[in-house]
Protein backbone atom coordinates (compact mmCIF):
# COMPACT_ATOMS: atom_id res chain seq x y z
CA UNK A 1 0.00 0.00 0.00
CA UNK A 2 1.58 3.26 -1.16
CA UNK A 3 1.38 6.32 0.96
CA UNK A 4 3.71 8.43 -1.10
CA UNK A 5 4.83 8.52 -4.70
CA UNK A 6 8.19 9.03 -6.30
CA UNK A 7 9.05 10.79 -9.52
CA UNK A 8 8.61 7.73 -11.76
CA UNK A 9 5.20 7.02 -10.26
CA UNK A 10 4.28 10.65 -10.59
CA UNK A 11 5.09 10.50 -14.31
CA UNK A 12 2.92 7.43 -14.71
CA UNK A 13 0.09 9.04 -12.81
CA UNK A 14 0.21 12.13 -15.01
CA UNK A 15 0.24 10.00 -18.15
CA UNK A 16 -2.81 8.17 -16.80
CA UNK A 17 -4.56 11.53 -16.31
CA UNK A 18 -3.59 12.44 -19.86
CA UNK A 19 -5.26 9.31 -21.24
CA UNK A 20 -8.43 10.01 -19.31
CA UNK A 21 -8.59 13.65 -20.41
CA UNK A 22 -8.00 12.69 -24.03
CA UNK A 23 -10.76 10.08 -23.78
CA UNK A 24 -13.09 12.68 -22.34
CA UNK A 25 -12.66 15.13 -25.20
CA UNK A 26 -16.13 14.59 -26.74
CA UNK A 27 -17.73 14.84 -23.30
CA UNK A 28 -15.96 18.10 -22.51
CA UNK A 29 -16.74 19.47 -25.96
CA UNK A 30 -20.39 18.74 -25.45
CA UNK A 31 -20.44 20.49 -22.09
CA UNK A 32 -18.61 23.59 -23.34
CA UNK A 33 -20.82 23.70 -26.43
CA UNK A 34 -23.90 23.98 -24.28
CA UNK A 35 -22.78 26.97 -22.29
CA UNK A 36 -19.42 28.06 -23.69
CA UNK A 37 -17.81 28.19 -27.09
CA UNK A 38 -17.21 24.50 -27.47
CA UNK A 39 -13.43 24.53 -27.46
CA UNK A 40 -12.64 23.27 -23.97
CA UNK A 41 -12.43 19.61 -25.00
CA UNK A 42 -10.07 20.24 -27.91
CA UNK A 43 -7.97 22.58 -25.77
CA UNK A 44 -7.56 20.02 -22.97
CA UNK A 45 -6.90 17.28 -25.49
CA UNK A 46 -4.25 19.39 -27.19
CA UNK A 47 -2.57 20.06 -23.86
CA UNK A 48 -2.56 16.50 -22.58
CA UNK A 49 -1.59 15.07 -25.97
CA UNK A 50 1.48 17.27 -25.75
CA UNK A 51 2.05 15.91 -22.24
CA UNK A 52 1.86 12.35 -23.57
CA UNK A 53 4.31 13.20 -26.29
CA UNK A 54 6.85 15.09 -24.26
CA UNK A 55 6.71 13.85 -20.67
CA UNK A 56 7.95 10.27 -21.25
CA UNK A 57 11.36 11.46 -22.41
CA UNK A 58 11.65 13.96 -19.56
CA UNK A 59 14.13 13.07 -16.80
CA UNK A 60 12.84 14.51 -13.52
CA UNK A 61 14.95 15.01 -10.41
CA UNK A 62 11.92 14.60 -8.19
CA UNK A 63 8.09 14.36 -8.42
CA UNK A 64 7.80 18.13 -8.12
CA UNK A 65 9.76 18.35 -11.37
CA UNK A 66 7.17 16.14 -13.03
CA UNK A 67 4.31 18.38 -11.97
CA UNK A 68 6.16 21.47 -13.07
CA UNK A 69 7.04 20.02 -16.46
CA UNK A 70 3.43 18.94 -16.92
CA UNK A 71 2.21 22.44 -16.18
CA UNK A 72 4.77 23.94 -18.50
CA UNK A 73 3.73 21.68 -21.36
CA UNK A 74 0.09 22.60 -20.76
CA UNK A 75 0.98 26.28 -20.61
CA UNK A 76 2.92 26.07 -23.85
CA UNK A 77 0.56 23.94 -25.85
CA UNK A 78 -2.96 24.84 -24.74
CA UNK A 79 -3.10 28.60 -25.08
CA UNK A 80 -6.16 30.52 -23.94
CA UNK A 81 -6.98 31.40 -20.38
CA UNK A 82 -7.47 27.76 -19.52
CA UNK A 83 -3.94 26.92 -20.68
CA UNK A 84 -2.61 29.26 -18.04
CA UNK A 85 -5.12 28.10 -15.44
CA UNK A 86 -4.44 24.39 -15.86
CA UNK A 87 -0.75 25.15 -16.13
CA UNK A 88 -1.08 26.98 -12.82
CA UNK A 89 -2.69 23.97 -11.17
CA UNK A 90 0.44 21.92 -11.80
CA UNK A 91 3.14 24.56 -11.56
CA UNK A 92 2.31 27.15 -8.97
CA UNK A 93 2.32 24.86 -5.97
CA UNK A 94 5.85 23.78 -6.76
CA UNK A 95 7.88 26.87 -7.33
CA UNK A 96 8.86 27.60 -3.73
CA UNK A 97 9.13 24.04 -2.42
CA UNK A 98 12.16 22.00 -1.57
CA UNK A 99 11.58 18.39 -2.57
CA UNK A 100 11.92 15.40 -0.27
CA UNK A 101 12.05 13.09 -3.30
CA UNK A 102 8.53 11.72 -2.73
CA UNK A 103 5.11 13.24 -2.25
CA UNK A 104 2.76 12.14 0.52
CA UNK A 105 -0.80 13.25 1.13
CA UNK A 106 0.32 16.27 3.09
CA UNK A 107 2.63 17.34 0.26
CA UNK A 108 -0.17 17.10 -2.26
CA UNK A 109 -2.48 19.08 0.00
CA UNK A 110 0.15 21.81 0.37
CA UNK A 111 0.97 21.89 -3.31
CA UNK A 112 -2.62 22.11 -4.49
CA UNK A 113 -3.55 24.63 -1.81
CA UNK A 114 -0.78 26.90 -3.02
CA UNK A 115 -1.71 26.50 -6.64
CA UNK A 116 -5.40 27.07 -5.81
CA UNK A 117 -4.49 30.37 -4.20
CA UNK A 118 -2.47 31.29 -7.25
CA UNK A 119 -5.26 30.25 -9.60
CA UNK A 120 -7.80 32.36 -7.74
CA UNK A 121 -5.48 35.33 -7.84
CA UNK A 122 -4.87 35.00 -11.54
CA UNK A 123 -8.41 34.22 -12.63
CA UNK A 124 -10.15 36.38 -10.01
CA UNK A 125 -12.80 33.72 -9.57
CA UNK A 126 -14.17 32.38 -6.30
CA UNK A 127 -16.42 29.46 -5.44
CA UNK A 128 -19.87 30.12 -6.86
CA UNK A 129 -18.68 31.76 -10.08
CA UNK A 130 -19.30 28.58 -12.06
CA UNK A 131 -15.64 27.89 -12.89
CA UNK A 132 -13.07 25.21 -12.25
CA UNK A 133 -12.59 26.75 -8.82
CA UNK A 134 -15.93 25.23 -7.81
CA UNK A 135 -14.40 21.78 -8.22
CA UNK A 136 -10.83 22.57 -7.27
CA UNK A 137 -11.35 24.28 -3.92
CA UNK A 138 -13.50 21.48 -2.43
CA UNK A 139 -10.97 18.92 -3.67
CA UNK A 140 -8.17 20.75 -1.92
CA UNK A 141 -10.23 21.05 1.26
CA UNK A 142 -10.91 17.31 1.13
CA UNK A 143 -7.18 16.60 0.86
CA UNK A 144 -6.49 18.87 3.85
CA UNK A 145 -9.24 17.27 5.87
CA UNK A 146 -7.84 13.82 5.17
CA UNK A 147 -4.41 14.98 6.27
CA UNK A 148 -5.81 16.31 9.55
CA UNK A 149 -7.70 13.10 10.12
CA UNK A 150 -4.54 11.11 9.39
CA UNK A 151 -6.07 9.28 6.44
CA UNK A 152 -4.14 7.39 3.74
CA UNK A 153 -3.09 8.73 0.35
CA UNK A 154 -5.68 6.51 -1.28
CA UNK A 155 -8.41 7.69 1.02
CA UNK A 156 -7.42 11.33 0.66
CA UNK A 157 -7.57 11.29 -3.13
CA UNK A 158 -10.77 9.30 -3.16
CA UNK A 159 -12.35 11.98 -0.96
CA UNK A 160 -10.89 14.73 -3.14
CA UNK A 161 -12.31 13.14 -6.29
CA UNK A 162 -15.73 12.90 -4.64
CA UNK A 163 -15.52 16.52 -3.52
CA UNK A 164 -14.59 17.62 -7.05
CA UNK A 165 -17.52 15.66 -8.43
CA UNK A 166 -19.85 17.37 -5.95
CA UNK A 167 -18.29 20.65 -7.07
CA UNK A 168 -19.22 19.86 -10.66
CA UNK A 169 -22.78 19.18 -9.51
CA UNK A 170 -22.71 22.45 -7.63
CA UNK A 171 -21.79 24.36 -10.81
CA UNK A 172 -25.14 23.24 -12.20
CA UNK A 173 -26.91 25.18 -9.49
CA UNK A 174 -25.23 28.54 -9.95
CA UNK A 175 -25.25 31.21 -12.61
CA UNK A 176 -21.93 32.29 -14.05
CA UNK A 177 -20.39 35.53 -12.95
CA UNK A 178 -18.59 37.69 -15.54
CA UNK A 179 -21.80 38.00 -17.54
CA UNK A 180 -21.68 34.56 -19.06
CA UNK A 181 -25.07 33.82 -17.58
CA UNK A 182 -26.56 36.72 -19.48
CA UNK A 183 -27.17 34.70 -22.58
CA UNK A 184 -28.42 31.79 -20.60
CA UNK A 185 -30.28 33.48 -17.78
CA UNK A 186 -32.21 30.76 -16.03
CA UNK A 187 -30.95 28.29 -18.61
CA UNK A 188 -27.45 28.37 -17.09
CA UNK A 189 -29.01 26.54 -14.18
CA UNK A 190 -28.80 22.84 -14.86
CA UNK A 191 -25.68 23.14 -17.03
CA UNK A 192 -22.34 22.15 -15.59
CA UNK A 193 -19.06 24.00 -16.03
CA UNK A 194 -16.52 22.53 -18.43
CA UNK A 195 -13.38 23.55 -16.53
CA UNK A 196 -14.77 22.14 -13.28
CA UNK A 197 -15.47 18.90 -15.10
CA UNK A 198 -11.84 18.72 -16.20
CA UNK A 199 -10.67 19.26 -12.63
CA UNK A 200 -12.92 16.42 -11.53
CA UNK A 201 -11.52 14.14 -14.24
CA UNK A 202 -8.01 15.02 -13.11
CA UNK A 203 -8.69 14.21 -9.45
CA UNK A 204 -10.70 11.11 -10.30
CA UNK A 205 -7.81 9.88 -12.46
CA UNK A 206 -5.26 10.52 -9.74
CA UNK A 207 -7.47 8.64 -7.29
CA UNK A 208 -7.90 5.74 -9.72
CA UNK A 209 -4.21 5.54 -10.46
CA UNK A 210 -3.23 5.63 -6.79
CA UNK A 211 -5.67 2.93 -5.77
CA UNK A 212 -4.59 0.77 -8.73
CA UNK A 213 -0.97 1.30 -7.73
CA UNK A 214 -1.93 0.42 -4.20
CA UNK A 215 -3.50 -2.84 -5.37
CA UNK A 216 -0.44 -3.67 -7.38
CA UNK A 217 1.79 -2.77 -4.46
CA UNK A 218 -0.36 -5.04 -2.29
CA UNK A 219 0.06 -8.01 -4.64
Amino acid sequence: MINSINSGQCKEMILYIADKIIESEPYLTEIDSKIGDGDHGTGMKRGFSAVKKELPAYMPKDPEDVLKETGTILLDSMGGASGVLFGTVFISGITKRRSKGTLNLNDFAEIFRTSLTSLKQRGKASVGDKTMVDAYEPAVIALEKAVQEGKTLVHGFSEAAKAAQDGVQYTKTVKARFGRAKYFGGKAIGLQDAGATSIWIIFRSMSEWISKEKEEAAL
Partner: protein, 332 residues
Amino acid sequence: MKKIINKPENIVMEMCNGMAMAYPELEFIQKYKIIKKKEINRNKVSLISGGGSGHEPAHAGFVGKGMLDAAVCGDIFASPSQIQIYQAIRETAGDKGTLLIIKNYSGDMMNFKNAAHLAEEDGIQVDYIKVADDIAVQDSLYTVGRRGVAGTVLVHKIAGAAAEQGKSLQEVKAAAEKAARNVRSIGFALSSCTVPAKGTPTFEICEDEMEYGVGIHGEPGRKREKVITADELAQRMVTSLLEDLQMKQSPEEIALLINGFGGTPLQELYLLNNAVTRELFQRSISINRIFVGNYMTSIDMQGASVSIMKLDEQLKELLSFESDAPAFKADK
Protein backbone atom coordinates in the same frame (compact mmCIF):
# COMPACT_ATOMS: atom_id res chain seq x y z
CA MET B 1 -22.42 25.84 -40.25
CA LYS B 2 -21.38 26.77 -43.78
CA LYS B 3 -17.83 27.93 -44.22
CA ILE B 4 -15.05 27.76 -46.79
CA ILE B 5 -12.91 25.34 -44.81
CA ASN B 6 -11.42 21.90 -44.75
CA LYS B 7 -11.32 20.73 -41.13
CA PRO B 8 -12.14 23.07 -38.23
CA GLU B 9 -8.93 22.13 -36.42
CA ASN B 10 -6.76 23.25 -39.33
CA ILE B 11 -8.33 26.65 -39.92
CA VAL B 12 -5.76 28.79 -38.15
CA MET B 13 -2.80 27.09 -39.77
CA GLU B 14 -4.25 27.21 -43.28
CA MET B 15 -5.45 30.74 -42.86
CA CYS B 16 -2.10 32.03 -41.65
CA ASN B 17 -0.39 30.26 -44.48
CA GLY B 18 -2.81 31.80 -46.95
CA MET B 19 -2.00 35.22 -45.53
CA ALA B 20 1.73 34.69 -45.85
CA MET B 21 1.21 33.55 -49.45
CA ALA B 22 -0.68 36.73 -50.24
CA TYR B 23 1.88 39.06 -48.70
CA PRO B 24 5.44 38.16 -49.60
CA GLU B 25 6.74 40.73 -47.12
CA LEU B 26 5.39 38.54 -44.29
CA GLU B 27 6.79 35.33 -42.91
CA PHE B 28 4.77 32.66 -41.15
CA ILE B 29 6.53 30.65 -38.47
CA GLN B 30 4.31 27.58 -38.40
CA LYS B 31 5.62 26.02 -35.25
CA TYR B 32 4.59 28.97 -33.10
CA LYS B 33 1.92 30.46 -35.34
CA ILE B 34 3.74 33.75 -35.58
CA ILE B 35 3.34 36.11 -38.52
CA LYS B 36 6.24 38.52 -38.67
CA LYS B 37 7.91 40.98 -40.99
CA LYS B 38 10.48 39.20 -43.11
CA GLU B 39 12.93 41.93 -42.38
CA ILE B 40 13.09 43.20 -38.84
CA ASN B 41 14.50 46.65 -38.28
CA ARG B 42 16.71 46.14 -35.22
CA ASN B 43 17.11 49.88 -34.70
CA LYS B 44 13.59 50.50 -33.58
CA VAL B 45 11.40 49.26 -30.76
CA SER B 46 9.78 45.97 -31.78
CA LEU B 47 6.01 45.78 -31.51
CA ILE B 48 4.07 42.59 -30.96
CA SER B 49 0.38 41.97 -30.62
CA GLY B 50 -1.84 38.98 -31.10
CA GLY B 51 -4.54 37.03 -29.40
CA GLY B 52 -7.11 34.49 -30.37
CA SER B 53 -7.73 34.05 -34.08
CA GLY B 54 -11.14 34.82 -35.58
CA HIS B 55 -10.61 38.58 -35.66
CA GLU B 56 -9.00 38.78 -39.09
CA PRO B 57 -7.32 40.88 -40.37
CA ALA B 58 -6.37 41.43 -36.70
CA HIS B 59 -3.63 41.12 -35.88
CA ALA B 60 -1.55 39.54 -38.63
CA GLY B 61 -2.86 42.02 -41.20
CA PHE B 62 -1.33 44.83 -39.19
CA VAL B 63 2.20 43.51 -39.43
CA GLY B 64 4.18 45.83 -41.65
CA LYS B 65 6.14 49.03 -41.82
CA GLY B 66 4.78 51.60 -39.40
CA MET B 67 2.69 49.03 -37.52
CA LEU B 68 3.57 45.69 -35.86
CA ASP B 69 6.67 43.54 -36.21
CA ALA B 70 4.86 40.34 -35.35
CA ALA B 71 1.43 38.99 -34.55
CA VAL B 72 1.01 35.84 -32.49
CA CYS B 73 -2.00 33.76 -33.48
CA GLY B 74 -3.88 31.70 -30.96
CA ASP B 75 -6.58 29.23 -31.73
CA ILE B 76 -9.96 30.64 -32.63
CA PHE B 77 -10.95 32.90 -29.74
CA ALA B 78 -8.19 31.53 -27.48
CA SER B 79 -5.05 33.40 -26.49
CA PRO B 80 -1.78 32.09 -27.88
CA SER B 81 0.34 30.30 -25.31
CA GLN B 82 3.16 32.00 -23.47
CA ILE B 83 5.72 30.03 -25.44
CA GLN B 84 4.34 31.27 -28.76
CA ILE B 85 4.54 34.84 -27.57
CA TYR B 86 7.96 34.30 -26.04
CA GLN B 87 9.21 33.00 -29.37
CA ALA B 88 7.77 36.00 -31.17
CA ILE B 89 9.62 38.27 -28.78
CA ARG B 90 12.84 36.41 -29.48
CA GLU B 91 12.36 36.39 -33.25
CA THR B 92 11.83 40.12 -33.45
CA ALA B 93 14.03 41.44 -30.66
CA GLY B 94 16.16 44.41 -31.63
CA ASP B 95 18.35 46.86 -29.80
CA LYS B 96 15.64 49.08 -28.45
CA GLY B 97 13.42 46.61 -26.63
CA THR B 98 9.98 45.20 -27.31
CA LEU B 99 6.52 46.45 -26.53
CA LEU B 100 3.58 44.04 -26.32
CA ILE B 101 0.14 45.44 -27.10
CA ILE B 102 -2.46 43.31 -25.35
CA LYS B 103 -6.22 43.39 -25.64
CA ASN B 104 -7.64 43.05 -22.18
CA TYR B 105 -8.76 39.43 -21.94
CA SER B 106 -7.77 37.18 -19.07
CA GLY B 107 -6.06 34.60 -21.27
CA ASP B 108 -4.16 37.18 -23.29
CA MET B 109 -3.06 39.13 -20.24
CA MET B 110 -1.77 36.04 -18.50
CA ASN B 111 0.02 34.56 -21.49
CA PHE B 112 1.55 37.81 -22.72
CA LYS B 113 2.75 38.77 -19.25
CA ASN B 114 4.25 35.31 -18.67
CA ALA B 115 5.99 35.52 -22.03
CA ALA B 116 7.40 38.92 -21.13
CA HIS B 117 8.88 37.44 -17.94
CA LEU B 118 10.40 34.54 -19.83
CA ALA B 119 11.98 36.92 -22.35
CA GLU B 120 13.26 39.20 -19.63
CA GLU B 121 15.03 36.24 -18.13
CA ASP B 122 16.84 36.00 -21.47
CA GLY B 123 17.90 39.61 -21.08
CA ILE B 124 15.45 41.05 -23.60
CA GLN B 125 13.91 44.34 -22.57
CA VAL B 126 10.14 43.87 -22.74
CA ASP B 127 7.26 46.01 -21.65
CA TYR B 128 3.55 45.85 -22.38
CA ILE B 129 0.43 47.94 -22.54
CA LYS B 130 -3.16 46.87 -22.16
CA VAL B 131 -6.00 48.13 -24.32
CA ALA B 132 -9.44 48.18 -22.69
CA ASP B 133 -11.50 50.39 -24.96
CA ASP B 134 -14.92 48.75 -24.98
CA ILE B 135 -17.29 50.89 -22.96
CA ALA B 136 -20.11 48.35 -23.18
CA VAL B 137 -19.47 46.45 -19.96
CA GLN B 138 -17.13 46.56 -17.00
CA ASP B 139 -16.17 42.99 -16.08
CA SER B 140 -17.15 40.46 -18.67
CA LEU B 141 -17.14 36.83 -19.60
CA TYR B 142 -13.45 36.76 -20.36
CA THR B 143 -12.14 39.88 -18.66
CA VAL B 144 -11.58 41.70 -15.48
CA GLY B 145 -12.23 45.29 -16.43
CA ARG B 146 -13.24 46.53 -19.84
CA ARG B 147 -12.60 44.44 -22.93
CA GLY B 148 -10.00 45.37 -25.52
CA VAL B 149 -11.54 45.61 -28.98
CA ALA B 150 -11.22 47.54 -32.26
CA GLY B 151 -9.54 50.56 -30.69
CA THR B 152 -6.47 48.33 -30.41
CA VAL B 153 -5.91 48.79 -34.14
CA LEU B 154 -5.49 52.53 -33.67
CA VAL B 155 -3.12 51.86 -30.79
CA HIS B 156 -1.06 49.69 -33.16
CA LYS B 157 -0.96 52.59 -35.56
CA ILE B 158 0.19 55.11 -32.97
CA ALA B 159 2.76 52.79 -31.41
CA GLY B 160 3.94 51.74 -34.86
CA ALA B 161 4.54 55.31 -35.94
CA ALA B 162 6.35 56.17 -32.71
CA ALA B 163 8.58 53.12 -33.08
CA GLU B 164 9.27 53.91 -36.73
CA GLN B 165 10.42 57.37 -35.68
CA GLY B 166 13.16 55.74 -33.64
CA LYS B 167 11.72 56.59 -30.24
CA SER B 168 12.81 54.70 -27.12
CA LEU B 169 10.80 51.88 -25.56
CA GLN B 170 9.67 54.24 -22.83
CA GLU B 171 8.55 56.84 -25.36
CA VAL B 172 6.79 54.32 -27.57
CA LYS B 173 5.04 52.90 -24.55
CA ALA B 174 3.99 56.36 -23.44
CA ALA B 175 2.54 57.12 -26.89
CA ALA B 176 0.74 53.78 -27.02
CA GLU B 177 -0.64 54.30 -23.55
CA LYS B 178 -1.86 57.73 -24.46
CA ALA B 179 -3.58 56.24 -27.48
CA ALA B 180 -5.13 53.48 -25.38
CA ARG B 181 -6.27 56.00 -22.78
CA ASN B 182 -7.97 58.15 -25.40
CA VAL B 183 -9.81 55.54 -27.42
CA ARG B 184 -13.28 54.16 -26.77
CA SER B 185 -15.39 51.67 -28.67
CA ILE B 186 -18.89 50.28 -28.67
CA GLY B 187 -20.42 47.69 -30.95
CA PHE B 188 -23.62 45.85 -31.71
CA ALA B 189 -24.43 42.53 -33.34
CA LEU B 190 -27.26 41.67 -35.69
CA SER B 191 -26.28 38.01 -35.75
CA SER B 192 -24.10 35.63 -33.80
CA CYS B 193 -20.73 34.35 -34.88
CA THR B 194 -20.30 30.63 -35.34
CA VAL B 195 -17.14 29.20 -33.80
CA PRO B 196 -16.05 26.43 -36.19
CA ALA B 197 -15.20 23.96 -33.41
CA LYS B 198 -18.73 24.26 -32.07
CA GLY B 199 -20.47 24.53 -35.42
CA THR B 200 -23.57 26.34 -34.18
CA PRO B 201 -24.13 30.02 -33.38
CA THR B 202 -22.71 31.23 -30.06
CA PHE B 203 -26.00 32.88 -29.17
CA GLU B 204 -29.57 32.90 -30.33
CA ILE B 205 -31.03 36.14 -31.58
CA CYS B 206 -34.45 36.88 -33.06
CA GLU B 207 -35.02 38.27 -36.54
CA ASP B 208 -35.88 41.71 -35.13
CA GLU B 209 -33.31 41.87 -32.36
CA MET B 210 -29.76 43.09 -31.87
CA GLU B 211 -27.23 42.68 -29.07
CA TYR B 212 -26.14 46.18 -28.14
CA GLY B 213 -22.66 46.35 -26.65
CA VAL B 214 -21.66 42.90 -27.88
CA GLY B 215 -18.06 41.72 -27.47
CA ILE B 216 -15.80 40.50 -30.24
CA HIS B 217 -16.25 36.88 -29.19
CA GLY B 218 -19.99 37.12 -29.20
CA GLU B 219 -20.04 37.86 -25.49
CA PRO B 220 -23.16 39.52 -24.15
CA GLY B 221 -23.39 43.27 -24.33
CA ARG B 222 -25.48 45.72 -22.45
CA LYS B 223 -28.85 44.81 -23.71
CA ARG B 224 -30.76 42.58 -26.06
CA GLU B 225 -33.17 44.86 -27.86
CA LYS B 226 -35.13 45.57 -31.02
CA VAL B 227 -33.15 46.51 -34.10
CA ILE B 228 -33.05 50.27 -34.66
CA THR B 229 -32.09 52.37 -37.69
CA ALA B 230 -28.54 53.30 -38.64
CA ASP B 231 -29.25 56.89 -37.63
CA GLU B 232 -30.52 55.87 -34.21
CA LEU B 233 -27.54 53.57 -33.71
CA ALA B 234 -25.16 56.36 -34.65
CA GLN B 235 -26.83 58.78 -32.31
CA ARG B 236 -26.64 56.39 -29.38
CA MET B 237 -23.13 55.18 -29.97
CA VAL B 238 -21.67 58.63 -30.52
CA THR B 239 -23.40 59.96 -27.43
CA SER B 240 -22.06 57.18 -25.20
CA LEU B 241 -18.57 57.34 -26.63
CA LEU B 242 -18.23 61.09 -26.26
CA GLU B 243 -19.68 60.93 -22.78
CA ASP B 244 -17.17 58.32 -21.76
CA LEU B 245 -14.40 60.41 -23.31
CA GLN B 246 -15.83 63.44 -21.55
CA MET B 247 -15.98 65.35 -24.80
CA LYS B 248 -18.89 67.66 -25.23
CA GLN B 249 -19.18 70.11 -28.09
CA SER B 250 -15.48 70.57 -27.70
CA PRO B 251 -13.19 71.83 -30.43
CA GLU B 252 -11.07 68.72 -30.09
CA GLU B 253 -10.23 66.57 -33.05
CA ILE B 254 -10.82 62.86 -33.23
CA ALA B 255 -10.03 59.80 -35.32
CA LEU B 256 -12.95 57.58 -36.22
CA LEU B 257 -12.96 53.87 -36.90
CA ILE B 258 -16.07 52.19 -38.28
CA ASN B 259 -15.33 48.52 -37.89
CA GLY B 260 -17.28 45.62 -39.36
CA PHE B 261 -17.56 42.33 -37.48
CA GLY B 262 -17.00 40.16 -40.55
CA GLY B 263 -20.46 39.33 -41.82
CA THR B 264 -21.58 42.87 -42.56
CA PRO B 265 -20.83 44.22 -46.03
CA LEU B 266 -18.93 47.44 -46.69
CA GLN B 267 -22.12 48.96 -48.04
CA GLU B 268 -23.60 49.08 -44.56
CA LEU B 269 -20.37 50.23 -42.96
CA TYR B 270 -20.20 53.22 -45.30
CA LEU B 271 -23.81 53.96 -44.58
CA LEU B 272 -23.11 53.80 -40.85
CA ASN B 273 -20.14 56.10 -41.38
CA ASN B 274 -22.48 58.59 -43.01
CA ALA B 275 -24.74 58.53 -39.97
CA VAL B 276 -21.90 58.68 -37.45
CA THR B 277 -20.05 61.55 -39.11
CA ARG B 278 -23.27 63.54 -39.25
CA GLU B 279 -23.75 63.03 -35.52
CA LEU B 280 -20.22 64.23 -34.89
CA PHE B 281 -20.59 67.30 -37.07
CA GLN B 282 -23.78 68.22 -35.26
CA ARG B 283 -21.69 68.32 -32.09
CA SER B 284 -19.02 70.45 -33.81
CA ILE B 285 -16.41 67.77 -33.39
CA SER B 286 -13.91 67.74 -36.17
CA ILE B 287 -12.70 64.48 -37.58
CA ASN B 288 -9.05 64.21 -38.44
CA ARG B 289 -9.18 60.82 -40.10
CA ILE B 290 -11.74 58.11 -40.79
CA PHE B 291 -11.19 54.39 -41.25
CA VAL B 292 -14.02 52.19 -42.51
CA GLY B 293 -13.73 48.46 -42.99
CA ASN B 294 -13.20 45.11 -41.37
CA TYR B 295 -10.41 45.61 -38.86
CA MET B 296 -11.35 43.62 -35.76
CA THR B 297 -13.90 41.03 -36.69
CA SER B 298 -15.73 38.36 -34.78
CA ILE B 299 -15.52 35.54 -37.31
CA ASP B 300 -18.72 35.89 -39.34
CA MET B 301 -20.79 38.01 -36.99
CA GLN B 302 -23.04 40.66 -38.54
CA GLY B 303 -22.72 44.02 -36.89
CA ALA B 304 -20.23 46.77 -36.39
CA SER B 305 -18.44 48.84 -33.82
CA VAL B 306 -17.55 52.50 -33.67
CA SER B 307 -14.30 53.65 -32.12
CA ILE B 308 -13.37 57.24 -31.38
CA MET B 309 -9.90 58.37 -30.42
CA LYS B 310 -9.39 61.82 -28.98
CA LEU B 311 -6.32 63.38 -30.54
CA ASP B 312 -3.73 65.84 -29.38
CA GLU B 313 -0.95 67.16 -31.58
CA GLN B 314 1.32 64.20 -30.94
CA LEU B 315 -1.37 61.61 -31.68
CA LYS B 316 -2.35 63.51 -34.82
CA GLU B 317 1.20 63.48 -36.07
CA LEU B 318 1.65 59.79 -35.31
CA LEU B 319 -1.70 58.91 -36.85
CA SER B 320 -0.75 60.51 -40.13
CA PHE B 321 2.58 58.71 -40.28
CA GLU B 322 2.98 56.34 -43.20
CA SER B 323 2.06 52.70 -42.60
CA ASP B 324 2.23 49.81 -44.96
CA ALA B 325 0.66 46.76 -43.35
CA PRO B 326 -1.55 44.65 -45.65
CA ALA B 327 -4.71 45.66 -43.80
CA PHE B 328 -3.66 49.17 -42.90
CA LYS B 329 -2.08 51.22 -45.60
CA ALA B 330 -1.89 54.91 -44.85
CA ASP B 331 0.02 57.61 -46.68
CA LYS B 332 1.69 60.48 -45.06
